[in-house]
């Protein structure tokens, strides 16, 4: 933090203005996906990481690259494959010869040392390699051979998942899934968007993305904005509302979470959910809601803010059972139902 340049504390208006500028720069390249881009930026300013799920060719990698350019932050990309090793991500100690001819071990940082990391098709690597990202994502540090190396803030991991090619993939462990603040879905573009994509990418001139921040102060500005997000006031009732939603994602007789009031539970949850959201889900709800409140020019969060980020924050944390797969029920539908129940319960 001490390496960051000194910047003025942003105001609520500054935050919204900056956010919209970054959003506009991204949309110079990315056609459509407005909600996905907004959720991506929400996660960035909330200090979380994002899991992007989409079929091939929907612009996942392009989106991340564009974000890196717009924010003027260092950007690395890792293509996850079956034979990728953890050291390929974190870095390793190598023997280097000095000018005096002496050889010594020196740490060669891996691609994880950057501001924005794109883990492309993360589910193609083995769980051991996937878990190499855990420490970096949660604690902003990497430990190699007993030595801990801090990462420079802001640190933002975006991992992509291909939901179609499931053969030869390794589903992400629950612990790693839980460390992603949001899961963003990139749906296939409609016809109009597809035409715009064709015209903008097949011509001689490609759209240029301008950096919103200058290189020297980009990291500091983003960190200041992230701190402003944490200053947004959440009334106790809002915390309680988020907690109630998260508890409601748990099935009624779950042996992991204990007894819950009957009124909190929806029959759909009891039928299809094997394991609901973790407490990190509630944190994600509040942090996402704070960003949305700032975007709306408020310094307090409202229930509408929490509900707006509920699917992105909770869907990937809910483990469905075989009945759900059999009945083609996905986690987003469960979250929608839970939010509806919570809204009805408060009257």
């Amino acid at each position: 933090m001490s390496e960051l340049a000194a910047v003025e504390t942003p105001t609520v208006a500054d935050f919204a203005r900056t956010f919209r500028r970054v959003q506009a720069e991204i949309h110079k390249v990315i056609v459509g996906h407005e909600q996905a881009v907004e959720e991506l930026l929400c996660a960035l300013f909330a200090g979380g990481h994002v899991l992007i799920e989409g079929v091939p060719g929907t612009g996942k990698t392009t989106l991340v690259k564009t974000l890196g350019v717009a924010l003027n932050l260092s950007f690395n990309r890792i293509q996850f494959t079956v034979d990728l090793m953890p050291a390929d991500i974190t870095g390793t100690r190598v023997i280097l010869s000095g000018d005096d001819g002496r050889r010594e071990f020196s740490f060669a940082p891996g691609p994880v040392f950057c501001h924005i990391l794109l883990g492309d098709e993360i589910n193609r690597a083995t769980p051991k390699t996937q878990s190499a990202l855990l420490e970096a994502m949660a604690e902003l540090q990497v430990t190699v051979s007993g030595t801990t190396y801090p990462l420079r803030p802001p640190y933002f991991v975006m991992a992509t998942l291909n939901p179609i090619e499931m053969e030869g993939t390794y589903p992400l462990p629950e612990a790693q899934l839980d460390r992603f603040l949001f899961k963003v879905r990139l749906d296939y573009p409609d016809e109009e968007q597809l035409v715009r994509i064709i015209s903008s990418t097949t011509g001689p001139d490609e759209a240029g993305v301008a950096a919103v921040f200058s290189g020297a102060e980009a990291a500091a500005r983003i960190e200041a904005l992230k701190l402003l997000v944490r200053e947004v006031i959440a009334a106790p009732a809002m915390d309680q509302y988020a907690a109630r939603i998260v508890r409601a994602t748990q099935p009624e007789h779950s042996r992991y979470v204990g007894h819950s009031p009957r009124s909190m539970h929806d029959e759909m949850v009891n039928r299809y959910v094997m394991f609901g959201s973790s407490p990190r889900g509630a944190q994600a709800l509040i942090m996402g809601a704070k960003v949305r409140a700032l975007l709306d020019g408020r310094a307090n969060i409202a229930r509408e803010d929490i509900e707006a980020v509920a699917i992105a924050a909770l869907a990937h944390r809910i483990m469905l059972n075989y009945a759900a797969h059999s009945d083609a029920i996905d986690a987003a539908q469960i979250v929608e139902r839970v939010v509806k129940s919570a809204r009805a319960a408060r009257g």
Binding site: M1, S2, A6, V7, E8, T9, T11, V12, A13, E223, A224, L227, L228, E231, V232, I233, A234, A235, P236, A237, M238, A293, D296, G297, R298, A299, N300, I301, A302, R303, E304, D305
Partner: protein, 468 residues
């Protein structure tokens, strides 16, 4: 001015908000917001109180009117059931209304949430009201206050809640209107009250000559008996004897009877029959010499006149009616009476007896009265005991009747006939009225026997039988 923030000295948050000049400090602004919220809360709570009051009033008025109508229209037992159901329903509705009103009460946070919802303030006010008491308000607290104050005109109490009077005010008005229509209607259609509109003279009867017969407690039409305490105690003892005789082994019928009595009393009170409208029946001791003076008319002719009037009021058995109000009462045949008393019961002509005639040893004239009326072939008779006992062949046949149970109980009639050896040696004809009293626990309602149509080919045979 710079402040420490995130490890840096940075300028303090530059918030550009517009607010009234007189409100300069954050606490003052907060006070202004909280004051406005307190006004809104008072308004909301006043409406909640009004809602409870209006609805409760409406429920009570409507239930009262319905119970009053039931008291006028329904038989005692039906009234008891309907009245109890109405009372329970009204009580439940009042409790539910009170609970709903309690749930509607607005706390400070609740009032703020309502204002947020109605003014679309996205939780600004609720956040302020919730966070204000705590010390941890955060760096953006001044912004939150100023932001909310900028929307001050949007959450004025009059805008958030436009009504000063709760909308359910129409409910008590409607209930009062319904009651105003229902009560006169119930009063106008009450048969007992219609009967009471007739003249209700006082009647004096001799207690020793009383013959108790079952009556319907629910149809007493407001008869009130008056006597000195000794007479009343004798009457009570007599009634108790009659009740004990017939009511040995009291069971559910007794409970039912008591329920009827209770319902009848409540009905009488609701109808306003307690006192002035009741018919007054004065009793006196049979062997009291000075008791004659207690007869307000002082002559038996007047008393006889009263009997006739009471006949029309339906207090007497119908064999005394028969459209023969002007026909003099049957004379007391002393020889017949002596012969009658000397004759064993088994030698008497067979035929149905009146329920009270079983105990007629003290008043054998009753039988002769029945016989006299039987010989007349009473056509109007509706009481089960005397129905169809006419033995006159000329009046055997008539149109088929379909008698119905007029009442569900018994009628206790008080009959007094002058007897040679009784308290009244004068032997003047005197027929006291019948008085309806509560049903004895073991008594059963009398059952009318319908007169059936007799085929023409059978009539000759039947007439021959009766001519013998």
């Amino acid at each position: 001015m710079t402040v420490p923030y995130c490890g840096f000295r940075v300028p303090y948050a530059r918030v550009q908000m517009s607010f009234p000049r007189q409100v300069t400090r954050v606490d003052q602004k907060l006070g202004a917001i909280l004051l406005q919220m307190a006004r809104l809360r008072r308004r909301l709570n006043a409406l909640a109180i009004q809602r409870v009051a209006f609805r409760t009033l409406a429920i009570l008025v409507l239930a009262g009117a319905l119970i009053f109508a039931a008291a006028n229209w329904l038989a005692p037992l039906a009234f008891l059931g309907v009245g109890a159901a109405l009372a329970i329903a009204a009580l439940a509705a009042v409790v539910a209304t009170a609970r709903a009103g309690w749930a509607m009460r607005a706390s400070a946070v609740r009032a703020a949430e309502i204002a947020d919802d109605r003014a679309d303030l996205k939780g600004r006010l609720a956040t302020i009201v919730e966070v204000a008491p705590s010390g941890e308000r955060g760096e953006l607290w001044p912004y939150v206050i100023e932001d909310a104050l900028a929307h001050r005109e949007e959450f004025l109490p009059a805008l958030i809640e436009r009504h000063r009077i709760e909308r359910s005010v129409w409910m008590p008005c409607a209930a009062l209107l319904a009651a105003a229509l229902l009560v006169p209607l119930a009063r106008a259609n009450h048969p007992a009250l219609l009967a009471q509109s007739d003249e209700a003279p006082e009647v004096t009867v001799d207690l020793d000559d009383l013959q108790l017969r079952p009556a319907d407690p629910g149809d007493n039409a407001g008869v009130e008996m008056q006597a000195d305490s000794a007479t009343m105690s004798r009457l009570d003892a007599k009634l108790a004897r009659e009740g004990a005789r017939a009511g040995a082994g009291e069971s559910s019928a007794g409970i039912l009877s008591r329920a009827r009595t209770l319902a009848s009393r409540v009905q009488s009170k609701l109808r306003g029959e307690a006192g002035a409208h009741k018919r007054r029946l004065t009793l006196k001791l049979a062997d009291a010499d000075g008791a004659q003076a207690s007869n307000p008319r002082g002559d038996d002719a007047a008393a006889r006149s009263h009997h006739r009037k009471h006949y029309t009021a339906g207090q007497f058995k119908s064999e005394h009616l028969g459209g023969e109000e002007d026909v003099p009462l049957p004379p007391i045949d002393k020889s017949a009476h002596a012969q009658h008393t000397a004759q064993p019961r088994g030698d008497r002509p067979s035929g149905p007896e009146a329920p009270g005639s079983g105990g007629s040893e003290n008043s054998p004239d009753t039988d002769s009265t029945h016989e006299a009326s039987d010989q007349r072939g009473d056509q109007i008779s509706n009481g089960g005991a005397s129905h169809g006992i006419g033995a006159d062949p000329d009046s055997l046949f008539g149109a088929p009747s379909n008698p119905t149970m007029g009442t569900e109980g018994f009628e206790i009639s008080i009959e007094a006939r002058p007897m040679e050896h009784g308290a009244k040696g004068s032997g003047q004809g005197y027929l006291p009225p019948k008085v309806r009293t509560p049903l004895s626990p073991a008594q059963r309602p009398d059952e009318p026997i319908a007169r059936a149509a007799v085929p023409a080919e059978d009539r000759t045979i039947i007439e021959r039988v009766f001519e013998r």
